[in-house]
Symmetry: C2
Subunit: 742 residues, 2 copies
C-alpha cells in the first residue's frame, strides 16, 4: 500500500500534453497547475503519438546493469561499442540537421564522447518516467546543440524522442524543436538556447537538491541524492550570467554540481582567440570551483571517466571539467571551424564524414548492437525508481511529518487551506508600503507552504524579503530558506528557474528593485516560456521611490511585462491586493508572477479584495446605476488611492463615478465578455486611467476618447511627493481629465 | 588663427543646458545634436546659475603646479593638507546626505583618500572646460557614492557643482541628483548607479582612447593621450556585466584603464561573506589584468600613489588596484557596517564623527587652506588645454587630413554630404533581407563617417555587421574598426555607451539577435537616459527567423522599446527604409536607435522612402480621395509587404485603401497634428494593423473599432513561411479583418 502510493508519487505529471503551437490566445488560457496525474493518465499522455513504444525491451538485465550504473565510473563496456555508440550520437545529429537543413551539428559531434559516458555510464534516471524525483539532472547549457540531447534521449529509451521525432527535427509540432524546451519534450529539464541560462539553471537545480537533502535526509535514509550535470560552451562562459551563477555555486559549495566545459576554441565569429582569451580554469578556481582538464575529449574516454570520478570525490565544491574537443569531430573538411557550428554539413561532407568515421549505416539508423547496449536503461531505470520508492515508503513510515512535507514538494500539492494564512486588512488597518505588506505575505506563506523559499539580490532590507522564521541558506546551513544572491539579478532569476523546475512544489521568489528587471529580463522571459512559476518581488515600483532618481525609477517596465506572453504583471494597491496577488502567484505554477510594490506608505482602500484581484480588474466603488457611470476612473497600485480620491471630488460635484482597480491586465483578459462589460461598459467612453508609469498600452483600456495620466519621460531625483506633483500624478489631474470628457 | 580654431574645437558644447525635469513631452522633442557651440555661448550656459564663478582665482601658479601634475605620482604636498582635503571630501558628503536626509555617505568616507589622490595629484583635466577632449576620464561605477564625485568637482573648481549645489543634493532641479548623471552635471562622464555599468562604460572610454590614439597619433605628436580611471565596489564586481567588460578589457590589453576596487567587505545585506567569497584578485588575473593590492586604503596615501605609478608602467594590460578600505571611515559607531551605506548618519553620529576626525568646521565649510590648495587646478587645467591646443595646431599643419578626421570626431560635425553615401533602391532592385541591406548601409557609412565603428556579440556573420574595408580592433591593431565583443551583450551595450560618450563624433553600433536585447536592456536604458546615441542593429526580428524557435523569436520586444523614453524603435520594411533609419540614427546623437531587421528576404516596395522614414509613419500607397479611404492598412517591417498585398486584393474588390508604413512610432509622435491627420484621419475608424509581434500598444493606433493582427503568444520552431501561416500573419487575415470592419 505504502509502496503503491509512493510509486504514484514519484510519477509526477507528464507536463503539458497539449502543445501550445499556434494558439494565439495562450495568454488568456494560462493553465492552472494540473496536480498529480495517475499512472494511467501519464502513460496515456506519453504514448499519445507513440503506439510502438518499446516496452517489450524490458528484460532481466537488471542485476548486471545496476552494478554498472551504481559504480558508474568503471569502463564496464569494451571500447568498440562505446565508439559505435558515440558515432551513433554524432550521426543522428548529422542526419537530423541535414534533413531539416537547419541546426547545429558541430557541438553534438564534438561532445558525443562525454555525453555518451554521462547518459550510458554515469547518470541515474528512468527513461519511462522522466519526472522521477530522485533522477540525476542534465542541462545542455549550449542549447543550440540540442540534437545531442535528442539523440541521447532516443538511445536511452525516452518515449518523447522516437525515430519519427528525430526525423521531424525543427519542424512544426515536433517534440524536437530548434533548442531544448522542457515544456515540449519530457526528459528535457530546462529550456536553453539563450546562452548562459542553462548553467545558471543547473546551479538552481543543484541548490534545490542540496536544500532538500539537508532538510529531509536522515542518517538512515538518503531520500534526496542526485547529481546535476551540465555541458556548457565558450558562449556560455562569455556571458555575465554564468559568472554570476558560478560565483554563487562556488560560494554555496554545491559539490554535486559537475559542469563540462566544451573547450573547442570555436564560436560563431571564428576562433575564440578573437574575443575570448581569458584563463577560464583560473577564473573558476577563483570562484571556488574544483577544476579538472580533460585534454583529449575526442577519444579519451578513460580521461573523461577519471575526471567524473575525481569530481565526485570533491564534495564541498562544484567541479568544472574542461574537456578539450574538436567541434564537428569527424568531418574531414569542416571540423575545427565555425562552418560546422550552425549549418548542415551538406550532402558531400556528410558522405565524407561517413567515410572518415567508417560509418556504413543509413541515415537515422541505430546499429543493432548499440540499440541492444542502451536497452538496459529501461529496466535499470525502473529498478532505480522502484528501489527509491521502497526507500521512500520506509522513510514515510519512520518520519511521517517530513515525508508529508517532501511529498508536497515532490507533487506540488499544497497543504489544504494554505491560502487562509494570507493576511487580510480593513480600511482601518494602519497604512503601509506594499513592500512591507508583501513581507507579511512572504512570512505567512513560508509557514504553510513547505517549498517556499527565496531572497533578494542584495536588497533584502529594502525589498523586505527576509523570512523571519528561517536562517540563511549557506554552505554550512543548506536547510535554511533565505537565499542571498548578492548583486546578481540575472543569475538570480535563472537560478530560480532551476529551483522551480526541480520539483513542482518548490516555489521560489526573488527580489530586486523593479527597474533592475532590466538586468534579469533574459531569465524572466525563460520563466514565462518554460512555464516556471517564479515569483518576482519587485519593489520601488515608480517615481514614488524619490531621491534615487531616474536610474532607479521604472517607467516603461510595467508595459514591457504586460506585453510579455504567459506573464502575470501585478501592481497591487494595498494589503488585500498584495495578498490577492500572492494567492494567485502561488497557485500559478506554470506562469511567473511579477509583483510591482511601492516603497512609499499607502492606505488600505475600501473595496479592495483578494477576490477582486483574481478577476484582474474590478470595481472598488461606484455610485452609478444601470451600469452607466458618468465616468470610470481606473488606477493601479499607488495610484488607485488617487483615483479613489478623485472619484470623491467628482461625486461631490454631482457626477456618478466608478473607480476600478486594474491590478492585473492578464487576469482581466481571461474573464468573460459579460464580466468585462460589467466593469468597463462599452457605452461609457469617459474613462481616465492613472498610473505612475508609461501610458503605453492604456489606449486599449481607456478607448479613443479616454485619457491616460502617466509618466512618459524618465523620472528625476527629488522627494517623492514633489515628484508626484511635478509629474502631474495628482487628484487634480484626474479630476481635470475627467471634466474634459463630460 | 589655427590656435584659435583649435581652442574653439576643444571646447565642445556644455551639453543640455535646459534640464528635462518634469517635461512629460521629452520624447516628442528629442533634441537633435546641437553641434559645436561657440566659446561665448558655452560660457553663458555654464554660468547660467552661477554669477559668482571664481574666475578671479586664475593666478600664475602654472609652472609649479604643472610639474606636479605631469609627474603626478610624487607626494609633492605635505600630508597634513592631504588629510585635511580628504576629510573635507568626507564631510561634504556627510553634510549633504544629512541635509537631504537621503543618500550614501559610506562610500565617499571610505574612498576619499584614493579619490583625493586621483583628482588632486594624478588626473589631467580642465575644470573650466569639462569637455576638453584630451582630459583623463573618471567613472564612479559605484554611482550611489555620488557625493564623492560632487565633492571632488566642487573642490577642483568645476562650475557645475557650487556650494549651493551641494546643499541641494537630491532635490528637484539640482545639479546633484541621487546618482551621477552626465546630462545634468558637466564633469560627470557617464551615468551610473545601476551597478556594473560604470566599469563597462570605462572599458568603452579606454577603448575609444586606444583606438583614436592608434589612428591619429604620430611619432612626433601624441594628440590623443589620456587615462581612464574607475572606482568600483563589491556590487559592481558581483554583476555579470563587469566580468564581461573586464574580460574584454583584458583581451584588448587596455593598458590605460586603471580601476580602483573599493574592497570594503560590506554590501547592503551586510558582510560580503554572505554572498561574495570568490577571489577577485585571481579572477582579474585570469581575465588578463595586472592586479595590485593596497592594504591600507584609509590612510596609506603613499601606497595608493605607488600603486598608480606601478599601474602606469604596465602598458599592455589594464590594472585593478584593490584598495582595502573601511566603509564610513571616521564614523565611530557606524563605520564598517551596512548602516553607513545608504542612509544619513544622523545628527548625533555626525557630531561623533566630527569629534573623531577632529573636524571643527561648519557643515559644507571648506577650510581655506584646502580651497587654496585645490585652487591651482583652474590655471593648471587651462594650461593643459592650451598646451594641447598648441600641439593640435601643429598637428593640423603637418597632418591636415588626419586633423580634419579627428576634428570631426571631437566635435561631432559630420562631413558635408555624408548622407549621400546611403544606398537607395527601386522596386526593381533585387529583394534582400533587411539585415543584408543594413550591412550595405553600415559599410557605406563607415567610408564617410570617421567615427563610425562597431560590431556584434559573436554574431557578425548572422547580424551582417562586418565593415569590409576595415580589420578587427584587437590588442595589436587598435586602429581598426570592427569590434569583436564575444557573446557579451550587456557588456557590449555599456561599452558602446562609453564610446559614444567619449567624443561627440564617435558613433558606435552594436549587434545581436533582437530577442537578446533582453540581455542588454540595462545598458540600453542607460543609452536612452544618458543621451548616448548608440545604434543597436538587431536582426532576426520576429518568428520570421524560423527554426531556432521561441527562445530566439522576439514577440514583446518591439512594444517594450516603444514604451521606453528617448528611444527610437525602427522596423524598416526594405532597402529605402533601412537607409532612412540609418540616416536618422546617425543624426540623433542624443537618442539611441534600435533597428529591428529581418533574417528573411523582403522585396523593395513601391512608395517607401528615406523621407517617409523621417516622418515615422507615412502613406506608401493610396487610391482614395478626400482623405477618406474605406480602410487604412498599417504595417511595419516584413509585414508591410503583406499589408500592401492585402491592399491590392481589397482594391480589386472595389474598396479604396490606404497602406501606411509605421516604421518608427516615436518619430510619428513628433509630427504636427495636421500631418498625423493626413495619414490617419480621425474620421476613418476602419484600420487594420499587422506586425509579427505583440499587438500590445496598437490599440491606440487602430482605435477602438480597428483590428490588430500580431503574435501574442510565444513562437515555435519550424520553417518561417509555415510559421507565418500557422500564426495567421497573412494577406488573407488582413483582408478578412478589413472586411469585418466595412
Amino acid at each position: 500500500m505504502a509502496s503503491t502510493s509512493s510509486l504514484a508519487l514519484s510519477q509526477a505529471l507528464l507536463a503539458r500534453a497539449i502543445s501550445h503551437h499556434g494558439s494565439s490566445d495562450q495568454r488568456a488560457s494560462l493553465p492552472a497547475f494540473s496536480g498529480l496525474k495517475s499512472t494511467a493518465s501519464r502513460a496515456s499522455a506519453s504514448s499519445r503519438r507513440r503506439n510502438a513504444a518499446s516496452m517489450s525491451k524490458i528484460r532481466s538485465l537488471r542485476p548486471l546493469v545496476r552494478a554498472a550504473a551504481v559504480e558508474t565510473l568503471e569502463p564496464t563496456t569494451d571500447s568498440s561499442i562505446v565508439d559505435k555508440s558515440v558515432n551513433t550520437i554524432r550521426f543522428l545529429a548529422i542526419d537530423a540537421v541535414e534533413k531539416a537543413n537547419s541546426g547545429h551539428p558541430g557541438l553534438p559531434m564534438g561532445c558525443a564522447p562525454m555525453a555518451h559516458i554521462l547518459y550510458d555510464e554515469v547518470m541515474r534516471y528512468n527513461p519511462k518516467n522522466p519526472y522521477w524525483f530522485n533522477r540525476d539532472r542534465f542541462v545542455l547549457s549550449a542549447g543550440h546543440g540540442c540534437m545531442l540531447l535528442y539523440s541521447l534521449l532516443h538511445l536511452a529509451g525516452y518515449d518523447s524522442v522516437l525515430e519519427e521525432d528525430l526525423k521531424s527535427f525543427r519542424q512544426w509540432g515536433s517534440r524536437t524543436p530548434g533548442h531544448p524546451e522542457n515544456f515540449e519534450t519530457p526528459g528535457i529539464e530546462v529550456t536553453t538556447g539563450p546562452l548562459g541560462q542553462g548553467i545558471a539553471n543547473a546551479v538552481g537545480l543543484a541548490l534545490a537538491e542540496k536544500h532538500l537533502a539537508a532538510r529531509f535526509n536522515k542518517p538512515d535514509a538518503e531520500v534526496v541524492d542526485h547529481y546535476t550535470y551540465v555541458i556548457l560552451g565558450d558562449g556560455c562562459q562569455m556571458e555575465g550570467i554564468s559568472n554570476e551563477a558560478c560565483s554563487l555555486a562556488g560560494h554555496w559549495g554545491l559539490g554535486k554540481l559537475i559542469a563540462f566545459y566544451d573547450d573547442n576554441h570555436i564560436s560563431i565569429d571564428g576562433d575564440t582567440e578573437i574575443a575570448f582569451t581569458e584563463n577560464v580554469d583560473q577564473r573558476f578556481e577563483a570562484l571556488g570551483w574544483h577544476v579538472i582538464w580533460v585534454k583529449n575529449g575526442n577519444t579519451g574516454y578513460d580521461e573523461i571517466r577519471a575526471a567524473i570520478k575525481e569530481a565526485k570525490t570533491v564534495t564541498d565544491k562544484p567541479t568544472l571539467i574542461k574537456v578539450t574537443t574538436t567541434i564537428g569531430y569527424g568531418s574531414p573538411n569542416k571540423a575545427n571551424s565555425y562552418s560546422v557550428h550552425g549549418a548542415a554539413l551538406g550532402k558531400k561532407e556528410v558522405e565524407a564524414t561517413r567515410n572518415n568515421l567508417g560509418w556504413p549505416y543509413e541515415p537515422f539508423q541505430v546499429p543493432e548492437e548499440v540499440k541492444s547496449h542502451w536497452s538496459r536503461h529501461t529496466p535499470e531505470g525502473a529498478a532505480l525508481e522502484s528501489d527509491w520508492n521502497a526507500a521512500f515508503a520506509a522513510y514515510e513510515k519512520k518520519y511521517p511529518e517530513e515525508a508529508a512535507e517532501l511529498k508536497s514538494i515532490i507533487t506540488g500539492e499544497l497543504p489544504a487551506g494554505w491560502e487562509k494564512a494570507l493576511p487580510t486588512y480593513t480600511p482601518e488597518s494602519p497604512g503601509d508600503a506594499t513592500r512591507n505588506l508583501s513581507q507579511q505575505c512572504l512570512n505567512a506563506l513560508a509557514k504553510v507552504v513547505p517549498g517556499f523559499l527565496g531572497g533578494s539580490a542584495d536588497l533584502a532590507s529594502s525589498n523586505m524579503t527576509l523570512l523571519k522564521a528561517f536562517g540563511d541558506f549557506q554552505k554550512a546551513t543548506p536547510e535554511e530558506r533565505n537565499l542571498r544572491f548578492g548583486v546578481r539579478e540575472h543569475g538570480m532569476g535563472a537560478i530560480c528557474n532551476g529551483i522551480v523546475l526541480h520539483s513542482p512544489g518548490l516555489i521560489p521568489y526573488c527580489a530586486t528593485f523593479f527597474v533592475f528587471t532590466d538586468y534579469m529580463r533574459g531569465a524572466m522571459r525563460i520563466s514565462a516560456l518554460s512555464e516556471a512559476g517564479v515569483i518576482y518581488v519587485m519593489t520601488h515600483d515608480s517615481i514614488g521611490l524619490g531621491e534615487d532618481g531616474p536610474t532607479h525609477q521604472p517607467i516603461e517596465h510595467i508595459a514591457s511585462f504586460r506585453a510579455m506572453p504567459n506573464t502575470l504583471m501585478f501592481r497591487p494597491a494595498d494589503g488585500n491586493e498584495t495578498a490577492g496577488a500572492y494567492k494567485i502567484a502561488v497557485t500559478k505554477r506554470k506562469t511567473p508572477s511579477i509583483l510591482a510594490l511601492s516603497r512609499q506608505k499607502l492606505p488600505h482602500l475600501p473595496g479592495t479584495s483578494i477576490e477582486g484581484v483574481e478577476k484582474g480588474g474590478y470595481t472598488i466603488s461606484d455610485d452609478s446605476s444601470g451600469n452607466k457611470p458618468d465616468v470610470i476612473l481606473i488606477g493601479t497600485g499607488s495610484e488607485l488611492e488617487i483615483a479613489a480620491k478623485a472619484g470623491e471630488v467628482l461625486r461631490k460635484e454631482g457626477k456618478t463615478v466608478r473607480v476600478v482597480s486594474f491590478v492585473c491586465w492578464e487576469l482581466f483578459d481571461e474573464q468573460s465578455d459579460e464580466y468585462k462589460e460589467s466593469v468597463l461598459p462599452s457605452d461609457v467612453s469617459a474613462r481616465v486611467s492613472i498610473e505612475a508609469a508609461s501610458t503605453f498600452g492604456w489606449g486599449k483600456i481607456v478607448g479613443g476618447k479616454g485619457k491616460s495620466i502617466g509618466v512618459d519621460s524618465f523620472g528625476a531625483s527629488a522627494p517623492a511627493p514633489l515628484l508626484y506633483k511635478e509629474f502631474g500624478i495628482t487628484v487634480e489631474a484626474v479630476v481635470d481629465a475627467a471634466k474634459s470628457l463630460f
